[in-house]
């Protein structure tokens, strides 16, 4: 009777934090889809200082966690096949 039980809502604050982060990320991306393109072109310009690659083969993937996951955050993965290094560091 005196032991506080674990309810389905225990720790729900962390779930809320995760959902919020994902939702806001998704909202902002939807509101300004050009951000992804802008990031892509900036990434390309930085990488171009160091290596050779085909710009058309670059893939940016957006992953959004779903459901009541804790600790999983939206993530962005870039796949950039590299042809050669430009300079030796």
């Amino acid at each position: 009777m005196f032991v506080s039980k674990k309810t389905p809502f225990t720790g729900s604050g962390d779930v809320a934090k995760n959902r919020l982060t994902t939702i806001i990320f998704q909202d902002r991306m939807e509101r300004s889809p050009e951000i992804l393109e802008m990031m892509k072109s900036e990434i390309i310009s930085v990488m171009a200082n160091y290596m050779d690659f085909d710009e058309n083969q670059i893939e940016l993937d957006l992953w959004l966690p779903g459901g009541k996951t804790v600790g999983e955050l939206p993530s962005l993965t870039a796949s950039i096949p590299i042809r050669a290094w430009k300079k030796r560091h």
């Binding site: 005196f2 225990t10 962390d14 809320a16 934090k17 982060t21 806001i24």
Partner: protein, 266 residues
Amino acid sequence: MGEIIVVTSGKGGVGKTTTTANIGSGLATLGKKVVLIDMDIGLRNLDIILGLERHIVYDLVQVVEGRCRMKQALVKDKRLDNLFLLAAPQTRDKDAISPEQMQKLCSSLVDDFDYILIDCPAGIEQGFRNAIVAANKAIVVATPEVNSVRDADRVVGLLESEDFEEIRLVLNRVRPDMVRRKEMLDMEAVTSVLSIDVLGIVPDDEHIIAAGNVGEPAISDPSSPAGMAYANIASRILDINVPMLEIVERHPTFGEKLRNLFRKGR
């Protein structure tokens, strides 16, 4: 020249009107001349919170339409001589005033008042557009809930695109006990998402309901934790450095402890 601040949130029911009434009263208590404009046309509430509903003869649309003078429409507060209300009409809709008219209305007040606080309606449509048009500072009210913070983020985005000079957050109805149990978003989680400055944290407080019952803002009750938080917010608006109110958890009375015991037992 007075400052024009809009109190907005996107989502309804998070405490915009309560926040407007209390901050306005706080600024007036600190000696500033303040006018509160209720822009929730058709669903006015600010008069009730201030207990001024029986004093309203004219509203802001009648001023705009030239059917009365501004002076006639400004209702003086019951307690504070330097606090005034410009009421919304209850029988018109959001199109009863245009953004240009709102701009003109505020311009006509800006020389006579130190602060013009605008209570914005919920939503992001025409009513919102009208309410924000004359302001260059905003107070965004949110509660620590996912949907409220999401709407606040949308509103912040819209305000930023209108080149607002200052956008600050009031996090309302915080339950320290729930934050401690990790059953509520904490300040850090909210601010990390919204990335705007925090003007204040207001605890969830029964006094707000009781204050609304009698039509006196909670800030006039020194025993109200929310009222105290609003007083601090008013000071911060005047650039008086007040530390963020450490929200203290109220200790349950013996009777409440007993009730809780029985509740848990079930």
